[in-house]
C-alpha cells in the first residue's frame, strides 16, 4: 500500500468554491486510492464535494493532499496538477 503526500497552494482566484471542488472530486473519484485533503489541521475526504467546500479555502491556502492505495502516485500527480492548473479556470 503506497501513501504519498504533497503540499500545494491554491492559485485560482476564488479558491475552493463550488466548481473547483466539484472538479477536484470528479478527478479524485477516477482513482481507487483514498484521497484526503488537509487545511490548517482540518482533514476531509477528498472524494466528497461537500467536505471540500466546507474547507472554505481561499486563494493562497496551502492544501496537504494525501493519497493512499495502489494508484496513489498517479492520483496525487493528477490532483496536484489540477490545482496548479487553476482547475482549468481562465483568469
Amino acid at each position: 500500500m503506497t501513501e504519498v503526500s504533497r503540499k500545494v497552494a491554491l492559485c485560482n482566484r476564488h479558491g475552493l468554491h463550488a466548481r473547483p471542488s466539484t472538479e477536484f472530486v470528479r478527478q479524485a473519484n477516477g482513482f481507487r486510492s483514498i484521497v484526503e485533503v488537509e487545511v490548517r489541521g482540518q482533514k476531509v475526504n477528498g472524494k466528497s464535494v461537500i467536505e471540500m467546500m466546507t474547507l472554505g479555502a481561499p486563494v493562497g491556502t496551502e492544501l496537504l493532499i494525501t493519497t493512499r492505495g495502489e494508484d496513489a502516485e498517479a492520483a496525487l500527480q493528477a490532483l496536484v496538477n489540477l490545482v496548479l492548473a487553476r482547475f482549468g479556470e481562465k483568469e
Partner: protein, 578 residues
C-alpha cells in the same frame, strides 16, 4: 418612490411589474419512523435521491448552450452523489430514527450553517447550492409541491427574490421575464450569470428587497448602474423609458452596422474570423458575422481528464460540434498548445523552471506521438465533407514543420488503411508566433498552405516580456518596430509564396493598430467573438493606400513610442487626412 442602489449584475434598463418570489424555507418538522419502517424509509430516501439526480442530470443536458448554468448543475449533481451527504441522511434515519424529510433538512441545515461564517462572497454563494439540493430532494420525497416559478403571469415581469436557484432559472420562460432583482449574490452569483447569458438586466445583493417590493408594483431596473426604483413617479418613469429606448436604438444600430460587409473605403474586402474554445461562444453573434473560425483552441479537451484526452471520439465530437455551428465557414483547429505552466492532469508534463521556453505545444506532441495521433486522426476525420484546416502552434524551424507534417501523413495512412474518409486536401498551416519562424517565413511558406500570426506570443517572445507579470507588463508594446517588421516579413513571405496569412490575437482589437496591420498587408484577422462587430466597423473606416503609407512610415521609426505618436497624430487627423 424609493430608490435603492446595489450591485449591477447584467446591463440594460427595464420598467415592469414585480413578481416577488418569497424564498423563505418551509420548516420541516422533526418526526420519527417506527423501527420496522426504517428499511422502507431508507429505500424511499434512495429513490428520491436517484430521482433528484436524474432531474438535475437532464436539466444539465438540456443546457447545451449555456455552460455556466451547466457547471452549476454539475456541482449540484456532484453534491447529490456525495457519499458524505448521503451517509448523513442515512444515519439520520438509521441511527436517530428520523423521517427522511427531517434527516435531509437537518443535514443540509448543518452544512448551510457551516458556510454562514465565510467571508468570501463566492464561497458563501455555495449556501444557495445547498438550499437547492435540499429543496430538490424534499420535493422528490413528496414533501414540497412544485408550483413552477412564474405561475400564470400574462406579461413579462421583473422577478424579485431572495435568490434564484439554477433549477428555477432554467425552467423560466425567458419571454416572460424582463429583469431580476435578488437580495443576495454578487457579480459572479448564479442569477448574475444567468441574467447575462439571457441578456436580461439584473441587480443583485439588494438587501431587504423582499420587504421593499410587493408583487404587482411597478419597478424600474437599471442593470448598468445597479439601481432599483420602486413605485416610480410619472416623470421618473418617463425619463427612464426614454433612456431605455435610446439604449435600445444604439444597440440596434451597432448590430445593424456590424452586419455591413467588412470592406475598406477603397473597396478592399477583409475577412474577420473568430477565436473560440467552445462552440457556444458563437451563439450570441448573428450568423452574418461568423465568417469562420481562425483559431479553435483545443486545450480544453486535455485539461478535463487524461482519459478523455486520449479518446479519439471525444475529439471528433468536439470538432464536429464546432464545425457544424459554422455552416459553411471554415474551422481552423489548432493542435495542442500547452506547456508545463498549464499542464493537464496525468499527461506527463514535468514542472519546468521556464515553461514559456520549455517543452510545450509541438515539442510536447513530438515527445508523445501517440497522444498527437489521436488528435490528428480526429481532425482528419472531421475534415470529411467539412471545411476544416489544421494549424500547428509554436513552430520555430523547418524541421518541425516537416516532422509535424510527417506525423499528419502517418495519421492519413492509418485512416486510409481503415477506409475512414477524410479530406485529402485539408489545408495545413502554422502559427507564426516565435521570431525565429518569422525570420525564416520565406522558407517555411513553401511547405504550408497558410500562416497565422499569433500576435500575443510573437510580442511576448520578441520583446521578452511576460504580459502577466506586473513589473514588466508596461514593456509589452505591440507597436514596437521590431514586432511590426516581423509582421511585415511574414506577410511578404506569404504573398511571395501565394499562401494565405491571417493575424490572430489582441493586436487586432487594440485601439489604433488595425489600420497599421492593414498597412502591413494583412487582409484577414481572427479575434474574440465579442470583438468582431467593432473590428468590422474599424476596418470600414480604413483606406488601404493610406494605411500602407502609415505602415511604411512606422516601419522606419526607431521606437514603440514614436510609432504610438504617429498613430495618435493620424487618428486625430481623422481617416480622411490627405
Amino acid at each position: 418612490m424609493e430608490i435603492r442602489k446595489a450591485i449591477p449584475a447584467s446591463p440594460g434598463i427595464v420598467i415592469g411589474r414585480a413578481l416577488v418570489l418569497d424564498g423563505t424555507r418551509d420548516r420541516v418538522l422533526r418526526k420519527y419512523v417506527a423501527p420496522e419502517f426504517v428499511e422502507s424509509e431508507l429505500a424511499r430516501l434512495d429513490r428520491a435521491l436517484g430521482e433528484a439526480r436524474t432531474e438535475i442530470a437532464s436539466l444539465a443536458e438540456q443546457q447545451g448552450g449555456v455552460s455556466d448554468v451547466q457547471r452549476i448543475l454539475h456541482t449540484h449533481l456532484a453534491l447529490l452523489q456525495d457519499d458524505e451527504i448521503r451517509s448523513g441522511f442515512v444515519s439520520g434515519v438509521q441511527d436517530h430514527g428520523f423521517t427522511p424529510e427531517y434527516a435531509v433538512s437537518r443535514v443540509m441545515g448543518r452544512y448551510i450553517k457551516a458556510f454562514e461564517g465565510m467571508e468570501d462572497d463566492l464561497l458563501s454563494t455555495r449556501q444557495s447550492d445547498l438550499h437547492d439540493i435540499e429543496k430538490c430532494v424534499l420535493r422528490h420525497l413528496g414533501a414540497m409541491e412544485d408550483k413552477g416559478v412564474l405561475g400564470d403571469v400574462e406579461e413579462p415581469v421583473v422577478i424579485v427574490a431572495h435568490d434564484l436557484t439554477p433549477a428555477q432559472t432554467v425552467t423560466l420562460d425567458p419571454a416572460m421575464v424582463s429583469g431580476f432583482v435578488t437580495e443576495v449574490g454578487g457579480p459572479t452569483s448564479h442569477t448574475a450569470i444567468v441574467a447575462r447569458s439571457m441578456g436580461i438586466p439584473a441587480v443583485v445583493g439588494l438587501r431587504g428587497a423582499l420587504s421593499l417590493v410587493s408583487s404587482g408594483e411597478m419597478v424600474i431596473l437599471d442593470g448598468s448602474a445597479g439601481e432599483v426604483l420602486v413605485r416610480p413617479d410619472d416623470a421618473t418613469a418617463r425619463r427612464y423609458l426614454e433612456r431605455a429606448d435610446r439604449l435600445g436604438a444604439e444597440d440596434e444600430k451597432d448590430s445593424r452596422e456590424a452586419e455591413l460587409p467588412a470592406v475598406s473605403r477603397d473597396g478592399i474586402a477583409f475577412q474577420v474570423l473568430a477565436n473560440i474554445e467552445f462552440s457556444w461562444e458563437l451563439d450570441r453573434l448573428s450568423p452574418e458575422l461568423i465568417e469562420g473560425v481562425g483559431l479553435f483552441r483545443t486545450e480544453f479537451l486535455y485539461l478535463q481528464s487524461a482519459r478523455d484526452a486520449l479518446r479519439e471520439e471525444h475529439h471528433v465530437e468536439a470538432y464536429t460540434r464546432a464545425a457544424d455551428v459554422l455552416n459553411g465557414g471554415h474551422l481552423t483547429i489548432r493542435t495542442l498548445d500547452l506547456g508545463s505552466d498549464k499542464s493537464p492532469p496525468d499527461l506527463g508534463f514535468d514542472r519546468e523552471p521556464n515553461p514559456a521556453l520549455g517543452c510545450r505545444a509541438l515539442r510536447f506532441c513530438f515527445e508523445h506521438e501517440e497522444l498527437f495521433q489521436v488528435q490528428l486522426r480526429a481532425i482528419l476525420r472531421v475534415s470529411a465533407g467539412r471545411q476544416v484546416r489544421v494549424m500547428f502552434p509554436m513552430v520555430t524551424s523547418l524541421e518541425e514543420v516537416e516532422r509535424a507534417k510527417g506525423l499528419l501523413d502517418r495519421a492519413r495512412s492509418s485512416l486510409r488503411e481503415q477506409g475512414v474518409p477524410f479530406d485529402e486536401s485539408m489545408p495545413v498551416g502554422i502559427m507564426v508566433e516565435v521570431p525565429a519562424a518569422a525570420l525564416v517565413a520565406r522558407e517555411l511558406a513553401e511547405h504550408v498552405d497558410f500562416f497565422s500570426i499569433g500576435s500575443n506570443d510573437l510580442i511576448q517572445y520578441t520583446l521578452a516580456v511576460d504580459r502577466g507579470n506586473q513589473r514588466v507588463a508596461s514593456l509589452y508594446t505591440p507597436a514596437h518596430p521590431a514586432v511590426l517588421r516581423l509582421v511585415r516579413m511574414v506577410v511578404d513571405a506569404a504573398a511571395e509564396a501565394g499562401i494565405g496569412v491571417s493575424l490572430c490575437g489582441e493586436m487586432a482589437v487594440d485601439a489604433d493598430l488595425p489600420i497599421l496591420l492593414v498597412g502591413l498587408g494583412l487582409r484577414s484577422f481572427s479575434v474574440a467573438p465579442g470583438a468582431i462587430p467593432r473590428l468590422r466597423r474599424v476596418l470600414r473606416t480604413v483606406t488601404t493606400g493610406q494605411a500602407r503609407e502609415l505602415a511604411d512610415e512606422a516601419l522606419r521609426l526607431p521606437s514603440a513610442s514614436a510609432v504610438n505618436d504617429l498613430l495618435r497624430r493620424h487618428s486625430e487627423g481623422g481617416p480622411d487626412r490627405p
